[in-house]
């Protein structure tokens, strides 16, 4: 956790109770909290206060959260986590496809939100590219194209490998079906998600143990969950 240079988090939500417990939760994690109660105020503060991350509620009284997201994305790439409701799959997909980094379904436990915030801050675009990824029992070396699960080397097909790299590079984030399809198969076969299902099932069979690493977000996409890394797994190779 970054303590020397505290991350500043902007909460855009019209409910005072929600802002209040979020402030308490975030304060306790040493984040600096900025609050906005309307969409317009949120956009204004996003520009003026330069937060490191935005928590955006979609149901705002003045303008829809989607609109706030779009307007902020016109000039900023700061991570945005969207608060949405159950059954709003369209909203989830829309916001993810329009630049939201993640979403959390209300009602949520603060622990869940904090985990997403950490993941989003970790994946900031400012972070330099590196070629070794570790997540739980999984190790991926993109330079040498090596994949290990619980220390054992795994043979993957080209597509399975691309899929895994995509997931691990974005670990902690939800990737929509469309996004994955576009990244792996290109923009022309975006709706043929049956391939994705098949490859995903094969990939999971090859690499997964308990606890699971790849979570299905029904109706939305996939997320690679961030797990405590077993640092020794990768080191064996080198």
């Amino acid at each position: 956790v970054n303590t020397t240079n505290k991350d500043r988090i902007l909460i855009i939500d019209d409910e005072i109770q929600i802002r209040r417990f979020l402030r308490i939760a975030l304060d306790s994690q040493d984040y600096i909290v900025i609050e906005a109660s309307t969409g317009k105020e949120g956009i204004y503060k996003a520009a003026m206060e330069h937060p490191d991350l935005i928590v955006l509620d979609l149901g705002l009284p003045d303008i829809h959260g989607k609109e706030v997201l779009k307007q902020i994305r016109e000039w900023s790439q700061i991570p945005i986590i969207v608060l949405t409701i159950q059954d709003a799959e369209d909203d989830k997909i829309f916001t993810l496809d329009n630049g939201a980094n993640d979403y959390v379904t209300k009602p949520f436990a603060t622990g869940e939100l904090l985990a997403r915030i950490r993941a989003a801050l970790r994946n900031r675009p400012t972070e330099p590219e590196h070629h070794e990824y570790r997540n739980g029992y999984l190790f991926v070396d993109t330079l040498n194209r090596i994949v290990k699960s619980q220390g054992k080397a795994i043979m993957l097909t080209a597509t399975e490998y691309d899929l895994l790299v995509l997931l691990i590079k974005n670990a902690g984030r939800v990737l929509t079906h469309r996004f994955i399809m576009k990244e792996i198969w290109g923009p022309y076969r975006i709706d043929e998600t049956q391939n994705l299902r098949v490859f995903m099932a094969q990939l999971r069979k090859k690499i997964e143990h308990t606890p699971k690493l790849i979570m299905t977000e029904p109706g939305v996409g996939y997320r690679m969950v961030l797990r405590e890394s077993q640092t020794n797994t990768g080191d064996d190779v080198q």
């Binding site: 059954d87 979570m215 109706g219």
Partner: protein, 895 residues
């Protein structure tokens, strides 16, 4: 007199109240009546309007003809004048009264000058008085002017006095509709002075006629007519007053008149005459149309309709009957209706034709009339419109011309073949042959052609066969007698046969109609819904009348007319036509082609009147724009009436259904409220209690207690969340708006997610998942299926004791993917199995929280994905839910 008898009966009182009610909703009509142009009606009307405006009443000048007279125009000051409507008709510009603008503006009082004006074709109504009646029906009061010579019943009198034919007339009944009539009177001398001063406006072309018209004697006569009309109106108002006060009814004379209506132009005069007599006698009168066998020609039909309309407009009660024998029918109706006096025209037929018919109509009626008085009225020959006469004859002839040809041809052929067979046959036998031919022809042809055949036969027989041959001279007395006898037998026999034949046709037609109506009714009754009714009616109309039909039905509120019903035989209807249908719907009157309202429409529109009100409108498009024969119209109206009644019945059924559903859902709501209020409160009580306890300093300070309380709050919140989600899911299913978002999904993956999500609750149970690797991916809504499986697994968890085992299996079969969720608990009580998926149904054991939605949601979501679900008990103990989901084969395995 006994007071008891004089008091108005409840029915009478009711009628008076109804009368008053109608009046209250309707606008008032005031007519400024004058004897002729120039007496100052418009001027008086405007004065009266100024007076109304002063009293704060909103007056609008809808249409006015000031003829640029300064003093009249001065009176327009301060009144709002409505711009006139611009109409193009036959490439000429006209301007006229803008009815719709007034209806839109809804003033208290509107001024519409010249009541008798005829509208330009293409406007809604044929005549301005119809515009005015519509205004009154819409609650707008009207001031208008009328010259007495424009009254329908005065037309003949005025013509006799002034020798001027009046073309623009209004029915006398308009005076009865008027609430007030103000007679604008001027002595003839004064009028002539005004005329001389040039104060009377006359159109250019009328200037020459004016010299003949404005004579002292004419004016005196017209003035008398005007005065009489005004007095009569006062009389009617008085009787109205008398009725409400229980004074004996207006028909104290007990007289009742009857007039026969036909298609002859003279019929019109008879009708007017009868109305005049009836109104002076204050007697009710009946117009009877005796429908005779055979069809009328197009023109005959139009004339007949015109006369019937006239009679109705003049206030007659119309009776239609079908009979071959007119005299008999008239006497029958007269006796049924207690008629005291019959009015008939002097016969115009020749004595010979009368003889064939067994005497003239007049004679027959007089003979059979018994106690009924009979007026025989001389037709006024001068009034006949020669143009019309020619028209009638033309059509008449042309339509029967082939028949005349056949008659002449057959007779000539028979005569010639006899002639060429030579002297084999005796000339007397030839007479018999010809006679036989005429009688045979009568079986197929109308009377006219048969008579022609008879005459032609007589001539040919005489010329070709009777000695001296090839001359018309007859030498022997017996031959002469034979010819005479031949002639009479042929004519009488032929015409009788023809009559019997026609009679048969009528009966046949009537039988056909009756059978048709019966069948039609049977079919209507069997029709299962509105669409079936519409389809049936429009198809039957097409069969019977060769006419396409556009049927518009009202919406369930009965206030708005919907678009053309999709089952109608006519679908393409333009905006203008829809407007006509709307008008018919709002005014509940006929309109369109063949009527006086919006006559330029392509279709004839009939209101569909049920027992309680209008249920829709039927628009009929007749082939080649033909008009509908009167007797066919009766059939059409009956069809439409039955159809309307059935539609109404169907509407009521739908309403009853709706009520049933809403009462069902009301019950459901009660259950829901009872259940939900309990289920919502429990977690709320926990949250509230735990939160207040956390605020308590001592409890809050104890980390163990704090953890327990916070955990309780979290759990209660989850429970509330589940409840809300269930209710929302259920309402999504109920709304019928639930559409699955199809995408590819993996059942194994789905089950894994569910178990992951329920892991905190699974802790007390053992879950075994047994899913084959080879399951195909299916095309379904992942989110809905996930919720369905969550609910099923959750159900298994809460209805089994802890440590129970739950086995989830999925296999691929021919039916699709079959997923079973089985437990080894107590199983489902057998009486609950059939209801287990019903919403709000909860198994007898209520110890578990929940409102009985979980399983019905699971079913709803699985069914929306094309799957099925069932529940059963396993023989060894425990319950098993089986879900079957269809599999669509995926073309490619790899990408």
């Amino acid at each position: 007199m006994n007071d008891e008898l004089n008091r108005p009966s409840p029915d009478q009182i009711l009628e008076n109240i109804k009368h008053d009610e109608e009046r209250r909703h309707k606008g008032r009509l005031k007519i400024f009546l004058g004897m002729c142009a120039g007496v100052g009606k418009t001027y008086t009307m405007l004065q009266s309007a100024q007076g109304l405006q002063l009293r704060g009443i909103k007056v609008l000048v809808g249409y006015i003809e000031t003829h640029k007279r300064a003093e009249t125009e001065a009176l327009l000051k301060g009144l709002r004048v409505l711009p006139r409507l611009q109409i193009t008709y036959k490439e000429r510009e006209f301007n006229d009264f803008n009815l719709d603008a007034v209806l839109l503006e809804k003033p208290d009082v509107v001024i519409v000058d010249e009541l008798a004006h005829s509208n330009i074709p293409g406007m809604r109504h044929e005549k301005r008085y119809q515009d005015i009646l519509e205004l009154i029906d819409n609650g707008i009061s009207v001031l208008t002017t009328l010259n007495v010579q424009h009254l329908e019943s005065q037309k003949d009198t005025v013509r006799q006095i002034t020798q001027i034919e009046i073309s623009e007339t209004v029915p006398d009944s308009i005076l009865d509709r008027a609430d007030e009539i103000e007679l604008v009177d001027l002595s003839p001398q004064d009028l002539l002075v005004r005329l001389a001063e040039g104060k009377v406006y006359l159109p250019e072309r009328a200037k020459t006629a004016a010299a003949n018209f404005f004579t002292i004697s004419n004016l005196i006569a017209l003035r008398e007519i005007a005065l009489r009309a005004a007095t009569q109106h006062v009389d009617i108002q008085l009787t109205g007053d008398m009725r409400s006060k229980g004074v004996e009814g207006p028909w104290k004379t007990g007289e009742r008149l009857m007039v026969a209506v036909g298609r002859s132009p003279y019929s019109e005069q008879l009708i007017r005459w009868t109305r005049r007599i009836a109104s002076t006698m204050k007697a009710p009168w009946i117009a009877v149309y005796v429908q005779q066998p055979g069809r009328l020609t197009e023109v005959g039909n139009v004339l007949l309709q015109k006369n019937i309309n006239l009679a109705q407009e003049l206030g007659a009660e119309l009776v239609t009957t079908t009979d071959d024998n007119v005299a008999h029918a008239l006497i029958r109706i007269a006796k049924q209706k207690n008629v005291t006096q019959i009015v008939i025209g002097k016969s115009m037929t020749s004595p010979l034709v009368d003889l064939v018919h067994g005497g003239s109509l007049v004679n027959k009626i007089i003979k059979q009339s018994g106690g009924i008085d009979v007026y025989v009225v001389q037709s006024d020959m001068s009034s006949k419109s020669p143009q019309k006469k020619v028209q009638v004859n033309d059509t008449f002839k042309s339509s029967f011309l082939p028949q005349y040809g056949i008659a002449a041809g057959v007779i000539t052929l028979i005569a010639l073949s006899c002639f060429f067979t030579g002297s084999v046959i005796d000339y007397r036998a030839i007479g018999m042959i010809l006679l036989f031919t005429v009688s045979t022809l009568a079986l197929f042809l109308r009377r006219g052609p048969v008579l022609l055949g008879a005459v032609l036969g007589a001539i040919l027989w005489n010329y070709l066969f009777i000695p001296e041959r090839f001359t018309f001279s007859i030498t022997s007395l017996s031959d002469f007698l034979m010819l005479i006898m031949y002639f009479f037998v042929a004519i009488v026999g032929g015409s009788f046969t023809a009559r019997i034949r026609r009679h048969e046709l009528t009966i046949q037609q009537r039988e056909q109609d009756t059978t048709f109506l019966n069948n039609f009714l049977q079919k209507l009754i069997r029709a299962e819904d509105q669409s079936a009714l519409v389809r049936l009616a429009s198809e039957e109309i097409k069969k019977q009348f060769n006419s396409l039909t556009a049927i518009f039905l009202s919406d369930p509120t009965g206030k708005v007319l919907q678009k053309v019903h999709s089952e109608s035989t006519l679908q393409k209807i333009n905006e203008k036509e829809i407007g006509v249908a709307q008008w018919v719907f709002l005014n509940k009157k006929l309109a369109g082609r063949q009527t006086k309202t919006l006559a330029l429409s392509e279709l004839a529109y009939f209101p569909l009147l049920g027992a309680q009100g209008i249920v829709g409108v039927a628009g009929l498009l007749f082939e080649n724009n033909k008009s509908l024969a009167r007797e066919r119209e009766t059939l059409l109206l009956m069809i439409l009436q039955q159809f309307a009644l059935c539609i109404e019945r169907e509407n009521y059924r739908a309403i009853a259904e709706q009520l049933k559903i809403s009462s069902q859902s009301e019950n459901m709501y009660k259950t829901l409220l009872n259940s939900v209020s309990h289920q919502l409160r429990t977690p709320l009580v926990t949250i509230k209690g735990a939160a207040t306890e956390l605020l308590n300093y001592r409890t809050g300070a104890d980390p163990n207690k704090r953890t327990i309380l916070a955990g309780d709050i979290g759990e209660s919140a989850d429970r509330l969340d589940r409840l809300v989600r269930n209710i929302l899911d259920m309402s999504r299913i109920e709304s019928g708006m639930l559409k699955p978002r199809l995408d590819w999904c993996d059942i194994g993956e789905l089950i894994d997610i569910c178990i992951e999500e329920l892991h905190t609750q699974i802790a007390q149970h053992e879950i075994v998942v047994n899913i084959t690797d080879e399951l195909p991916i299916i095309n379904a809504d992942e989110v809905l299926l996930r919720q369905a499986f969550l609910n099923l697994i959750h159900n298994a968890l809460i209805y089994t004791p802890s440590q129970s085992k739950i086995l989830i299996q999925a296999i691929h079969t021919e039916l699709g993917i079959v997923i079973t969720i089985a437990d080894n608990g107590r199983g489902i009580p057998s009486q609950d199995i059939p209801h287990i998926f019903d919403k709000f149904y909860r198994s007898g054991d209520r110890s578990q929280s929940g409102i009985g939605l979980g399983l019905s949601i699971a079913r709803g979501f699985i069914e929306v994905n094309g799957g099925t679900i069932s529940a059963e008990n396993i023989p060894g103990g425990g319950a098993q839910f089986t879900v079957t989901l269809p599999v669509k084969t995926v073309d490619k395995e790899n990408g």
